[in-house]
């Protein structure tokens, strides 16, 4: 497999140098090599680009108003007029799936950002200062004893009402400890490097070493973890919405649509089929991207789970 990909890549590079392409002008060579290195990576990037485009243009490209009720059209199967059929209120499933893409990606992005903002400083400080690490990491491990969805559910109950911000906080608090763990163990191994020793010998302050030498090297594992966090969090948000405790039900979301479709599952399985397909595709794309980034940025991590 590896051999084949290599020769493929060489062929492709060779043909690239002969032909002039827009692709080559616009895309930096490092990224081009990364994106075309494996077929699955390219597929993931294309899927994600499509999803981003869909979420940006969503409301303008849909054939119907996603929230418009038309009871006379309820529970119609997929057809030329309604690509993905209609739901129990006669709303167009295709339009709702398209419109729901934006909220899915935004929530995934916010949750990854949240876990990053918490995980990077806390993890790095814990990894660098033993005494802090000893205490905080115990707590972090204990946080991870709660299964993700149960903790998220409990937090939603504590926050009181469904809402976008509450979902971000609830799921973010579930994934932040996992990010802390990743940053912590990366910092532990980074600080053993000779250049850190040298910096210490030169009399650099710990803060400066942390900011200038450690932080920059943490980027690779953090980016990889953030990509996986994205995949997990959109799945978890969908599960919360499916259980009816996520964002309010009147907002079109993939999980919420699947929840509403449950009653009609035998009569109208398409209400559930299509949002689920979109969700699975999005999660798959992020998982593939995460795998590719991990192999690319941090070959040492490849073998660990």
């Amino acid at each position: 497999m590896t051999k084949r990909t290599h020769s493929n890549k060489r062929d492709r590079d060779a043909s690239d140098s002969r032909t002039y392409s827009v692709w080559k002008c616009l895309v930096p060579p490092g990224f081009r090599k990364f994106a075309t290195g494996r077929r699955t990576t390219l597929a993931a990037i294309l899927i994600l680009a499509a999803l981003i485009l869909i979420s940006a243009l969503g409301p303008w490209i849909v054939p119907y108003d996603a929230d418009k009720l038309k009871v006379t059209d309820r529970l119609q199967g997929p057809s030329g007029t309604h690509f993905f059929g209609t739901d129990n209120f006669g709303r167009d499933v295709f339009s709702r799936v398209i419109v729901g893409t934006r909220i899915t990606l935004l929530l995934g992005l916010s949750i990854s950002a949240f876990s990053l903002l918490v995980g990077l400083p806390v993890g790095a400080i814990c990894g660098f200062y033993d005494r802090v690490g000893l205490v905080v990491m115990r707590l972090v491990d204990a946080m991870m004893a709660f299964p993700a969805i149960i903790l998220a559910l409990a937090l939603m109950a504590i926050f009181g009402k469904p809402g976008v911000l509450n979902v971000i906080l609830a799921v973010g608090m579930v994934w932040a400890p996992r990010m802390i763990r990743v940053v912590y163990s990366a910092t532990l191994s980074l600080r053993e490097n000779t250049y850190v020793e040298a910096a210490k010998a030169l009399g650099m302050s710990s803060t400066r070493i942390l900011l200038r030498h450690i932080a920059i090297n943490l980027l690779s594992p953090v980016i990889v973890q953030a990509t996986f966090t994205f995949a997990f969090s959109i799945m978890e948000v969908a599960a919360l919405n499916f259980l009816g405790v996520g964002i309010p039900p009147y907002v079109a979301s993939w999980g919420g649509m699947m929840n509403e479709g449950r009653t009609y599952i035998i009569r109208a399985p398409w209400i559930i089929l299509f949002p689920g397909l979109f969700l699975a595709t999005a999660v798959l794309a992020f998982n593939l991207l995460g795998d590719a980034l991990r192999d690319r940025l941090d070959p040492k991590l490849r073998r660990t789970v």
Binding site: R138, A145, A154, I158, G160, F242, V245, M258, I265, R303
Partner: protein, 315 residues
């Protein structure tokens, strides 16, 4: 071995205390007055006062915590606000379904994941390996509740081969045939977890299969099967075991949604109902039970590690 055991037990005790502390503190996060939040907006001030008294919510937080801890040690997890029963009783009633579901799902996950991983690793980069990896990756990306719903439509709905929902206790009725209701849920839950298991099995088997002692075993003329099972699999089993213990935790988590999909009367559907009804004592109780179970599983995993690999005991 003894000092290893002592250290592990110590670690477990610390984790247990921390888990209790976190569950306690999380409930302090409820914005505003917990009594009013729990009783709803229509509660009279007298009712709220009454609840604060019985729950000791009028006491300072350290006192409340001491009381909470004491109750925990006595096995008192409080009273459900909705069911008017002790939390532990309700959890015990619901536990059977969840245990059956998790156990069956674990069997599915292990039964698919480990053989798939071994088959992949024996001939790496073959057609078999690549298609297996692709299936595993897709499996890991499919939401288990969606898979459950789709199986339900197809197998229970269209074909009518298996019941689509519900479950009656096996212990109470003594009827093992009731487990038929759990086949679809267990499969949809287990399949998703098999994916990760297959990937880990493959990668740790690949690591081991390249080791010198495997080459030696082959050179001695041992049969392929004996090389794979006796030499490779046992040494590859530590990372696999880690994932199995993860899998168990993720089954507990996944069961929450799966139980809801298939209307199974387990812990998972209990917590969702409790969240919707703001039944905080039950939520707290479930969090505690599940997290402590996780701590226990980790402890057992550590012990099994030490049995599989004697070197670990001296670390």
């Amino acid at each position: 071995m003894l000092s290893y055991l002592v250290r592990r037990v110590g670690g477990m005790v610390v984790s247990t205390i921390l888990v209790i502390t976190i569950t306690f503190l999380l409930l302090q996060l409820i914005p505003g007055d917990p009594a009013t939040v729990m009783l709803g907006a229509n509660a009279t001030p007298e009712q709220a006062e009454q609840l604060r008294k019985t729950w000791g919510l009028d006491q300072p937080i350290p006192v409340q915590f001491a009381r909470y801890f004491e109750n925990f040690v006595r096995g008192d997890f409080g009273q459900s606000l909705f069911h008017r029963q002790p939390v532990l009783t309700i959890i015990r009633q619901r536990a059977e379904t969840s245990v059956w579901l998790s156990a069956l799902a674990l069997i599915v996950a292990l039964g698919i994941g480990i053989p798939a991983g071994i088959l992949s690793s024996v001939k790496p980069n073959s057609l078999m390996d690549n298609s297996m990896l692709l299936v595993a990756l897709a499996g890991a990306s499919i939401p288990s509740f969606w898979l459950g719903l789709m199986l339900m439509t197809l197998i229970a709905g269209k074909l009518g081969w298996l019941p689509s929902s519900g479950f009656t206790s096996v212990l109470a009725t003594g009827n093992l045939a009731n487990l038929k209701n759990l086949i679809l849920p267990a499969f949809s839950l287990g399949f998703v977890n098999a994916a990760l298991l297959a990937r880990t099995t493959r990668s740790s088997m690949l690591d081991v299969l390249n080791a010198d002692y495997v080459t030696t075993a082959r050179a001695k003329g041992l049969r392929q099967r004996s090389v794979i099972v006796k030499h490779a699999l046992r040494n590859a089993s530590i990372p696999i075991l880690t994932v199995v213990s993860f899998t168990f935790a993720s089954l507990l988590s996944g069961a929450v949604v799966t139980e809801n999909v298939f209307a199974l009367p387990g812990i998972g559907s209990l917590i969702v109902q409790s969240v919707l009804k703001r039944d905080y004592p039950v939520i707290q109780g479930i969090m505690l039970v599940v997290a402590l179970l996780y701590v226990l599983i980790n402890f057992v995993t550590d012990l099994v590690y030490a049995m599989l690999d004697p070197r670990i005991r001296y670390r």
